[in-house]
């Protein structure tokens, strides 16, 4: 990213604290906070805010008024989908993970796929215990 301003040779001379300079954006000559580029970025942040707010309001309305009328399984899948939707926006825009290089994105996200197995295994175990407890003969 800051390759235009620094040759490899220059970079060798930077000490650890200076390394942050390379990647923090300051060397891309972002100086004018009221530039069109900056305002575009701020607009994107507020757009994500409105999306998160709208999704939360939908969740609360579903929880408040429909928790006994819509089938529980369907309602819960809706909640989980909307939650993942919100999480995606927070991570990719607010935490800028969407702007990082792909190899870093993958490094962070791959360990999280373990959760798929965790959730299935542990919830199935909990359900099996309930089944055993309610069907086991009384001793």
């Amino acid at each position: 990213m800051s390759q235009h301003h620094h040759t490899e040779n220059n970079i060798q001379h930077l000490y650890e604290g200076d390394q942050s300079k390379l990647y923090s954006g300051v060397m891309q000559h972002h100086t004018d906070i009221s530039s069109a580029e900056s305002r575009k970025q701020v607009g994107r942040i507020w757009k994500v805010f409105w999306i998160l707010l709208a999704v939360t309001i939908v969740e609360v309305i579903l929880g408040m008024f429909f928790s006994y009328s819509i089938p529980k399984g369907f309602l819960n899948s809706m909640f989980l989908l909307l939650t993942l939707f919100k999480a995606g926006y927070i991570v990719s825009v607010f935490m800028h993970l969407g702007d990082e290089v792909k190899s870093f994105l993958i490094t962070v996200l791959i360990p999280l796929t373990l959760f798929i197995w965790f959730i299935i295994a542990f919830l199935a175990d909990g359900g099996f215990w309930l089944h055993m407890n309610s069907t086991a003969p009384m001793r």
Binding site: I11, Y23, F49, V60, M64, T83, A87, L123, W129, N133
Partner: protein, 248 residues
Amino acid sequence: MAHSATAAAETKVWGGGRSPFNVSYGKMMMWFFLLSDAFTFGAFLISYGTTRFFSAVWPDPNHVFHAFPFMGHANLPLLFVSLMTFILIMSSVTMVLAVHAGHYGDRKGVIKWLLFTIIGGICFLSCQAWEWTHLHHQGAWWGSFTDSSAPLSGIEQFFNMKDPRVTGPLAAHGMQATHDFYNYFFTITGFHGAHVASGVVLLCLVLINSINGTYDRRGHYEMVEKIGLYWHFVDLVWVFVFTCFYLL
């Protein structure tokens, strides 16, 4: 730096001299810390789910969380926690605006948005303190509801008593379920609240440094970005806590 570059040249693997991920060491380590923290929170929430799955009954969030400050006994399910969620999302926006101002070296902007973020964090913690106090007044705390011979009238307020699938097993399993529910509730929201509280402390330190011009002298505002990552993560965890405890 020079050392690692030489070593890399000898092994002919990676040229060295710059981050292969195009991020600084500090920011990468913040991401890896957050990854490990995600597993801690994930383990908490999954064990909550497991306990819930093996309980024949479970407290109904619409009955547990229905109070609002100064509204007396008005039945307003989920409204207060929605307010808390709104506050935390809002503080996430002000945080990302502080990070943005930092990218442009705009010190005044960083200070302004950090202040708003700190106020948001304190508001959230105050709301949580109120909620905990309210639940405590209803008899809920760690280790409450352990006496299985206590009258059911003490826990009926937490359940949906219109559903025969709930009222049936309530006498046998209600007390244990209420006990489990509140242990998890206070542990997980408490752990999250502790994260918010440490976040507020970190934000105050970054604010003091910004006011003192430390980051201007350093030449970049990356510290704001790193603490920002932590703050967004705390918001992210709340999104999941909100779903698990208040919606599902």
